[in-house]
Symmetry: C2
Subunit: 294 residues, 2 copies
């Protein structure tokens, strides 16, 4: 079984107030398409840019919109441990199924510091946690040794790793499988390399495109589940122009431009991040027109 | 003229509430020693871990404690542009002389994004700004081209760069001097390489040890100002055991351990950062005992 977790943007006004109506508009087609879970307030959902009460409003609205039809995972990362605990408590109180806990850092953190941080959030919140390994934004990398320690902490049930380059996928998953207990879920993000990781045995795809184009992502996941690697690779290869944009401009900036070009909501990322303009925006528009995403 | 700016820690309780009495206790000897300015709420002052109202309390207490005897520079960085604007407005309202603006990031930022961010904070706050280039924590590096653009923005008056390795100091300062207007201040942080940067013409030392041992740092600055490079290098070389600790454990963790060992205040860094223990703490204690810092 391969879980597709869809990571939408979190529409806000310029002051960081969440537009709950627009959020519902983005979530409704994901639920209707039948994704496996919603990854609310991920990096694409700009959680580090949103205040605690705004995050809580977003979780409440999402849980209400989803109405029990699928689980809502919620980004609960924060620079301070006590803040991450509160975010996780809030998410649990609002009905989230699990928390996504990134090792956000300013002062570079040691392995022991991240271990205590994650253990504390798990213990004090009681919310099941998926570790969120995202060194491109947090500048902390979970080693297999640390993952092995954390996978034995009660309440830490999964990890979302950045998908390695395709020829390293099997080795990556074997290295993690060797250190985690049975039942601990190994999943991947980084859409452009995710298919190889799923074919190598990854159990979940934490997907940015699924947050906007759930059918496109589900078609790939269904091919993987059917054991049709050739079809999964073909569907993935078709998306190469989109993956190239993700690598060049970041998936966050590209999906914001997509949502804006499609007229789905007011879609400007939080400043200092600027909306794509000029040639970049045109490239996104051309790619949208060529690929027929859905 | 070489300015010594002293960067103290910001003592807080475990919840992040600033201990104003302990902060005054730390500031008083800096003022008495005659440092050139206070660098409040720098990275050593854990600004990213403190809420807006806690930062404002710290600035108000520092400005009151310093009582006009020297300028107070205040870290005003934040992940969101509008938050950084508010931090700078707060600092100005509380009587700070200038703001230290780091390019804090989660999603990696482009040069244009950081340009607009800094320009917006300068324009909307009216607080003179020192750019705070600290790639080890922000994961953004100001290029000379960007520094040249920003140095022409009204209200952006200085930059604090990480001091390069000693044999690159002259080249670094020449590269920046070539792109900034006359009067724009070029200063350095990173205590272990700062002396070479000052001898090469750096105008300010943004110093962590000066936040705890002002006389030790002032002796070096006075040797630089007297043109006695040999004496400056001798005093600097004497501190090598301390610089080794800074490089190994980070200056932040080491000065917290120093403040704690010296009994100056409750000195635990904000979690997830853990206080140094065991062998690391013993090494700091041994170094303190051997070096006679003041």
């Amino acid at each position: 079984m391969t879980i597709l977790s869809a990571f939408p943007i979190t529409p806000t006004n310029a002051d960081g107030q969440v537009d709950l109506g627009a959020l519902r508009t983005l979530l409704q087609p994901l639920v209707a398409a039948g994704v496996g879970s919603i990854g609310l307030l991920g990096s694409t959902g700009t959680y580090p840019f949103l205040a605690r009460h705004q995050r809580r409003r977003a979780v409440e609205a999402a849980v209400e919109a989803v109405a029990g039809r699928l689980p809502v995972l919620v980004g609960v990362g924060a620079l301070r441990t006590d803040e991450a605990v509160r975010m996780a408590q809030d998410a649990k109180g609002a009905g989230a199924e699990a928390g996504l806990l990134a090792a956000m850092s300013y002062t570079p953190l040691t392995e022991d510091e991240v271990f205590v941080h994650c253990e504390t959030v798990a213990r004090e919140s009681g919310l099941p946690l998926c570790l969120y390994d995202n060194p491109g934004t947090t500048h902390f990398r979970f080693t297999p040794a640390l993952i092995g320690r954390l996978a034995r902490v009660p309440g830490i049930v999964a990890i979302k790793s950045p998908a390695p380059e395709p020829d390293g996928a099997a080795e990556h998953i074997a290295a993690l499988r060797a250190v985690v207990p049975a039942g601990f879920s190994l999943g991947y993000s980084g859409d452009w390399n995710a298919v190889a990781a799923l074919l190598a045995g990854g159990e979940a795809w934490y997907s940015v495109i699924a947050g906007l184009f759930p059918h496109t992502a589900l078609a790939i996941v269904r091919a993987v589940e059917a054991g049709d690697a050739a079809e999964a690779r073909r569907l993935d290869a078709r998306l190469k122009p989109l993956w190239d944009l993700f690598r060049t401009y970041s998936s966050l900036r590209v999906v914001y431009a997509c949502a804006d070009l499609l007229g789905l909501c007011r879609a400007e990322p939080p400043r200092p991040i600027l909306p794509l303009g000029g040639e970049a925006r045109q490239r996104v528009a051309d790619t949208l027109a060529a690929l027929e995403l859905g």
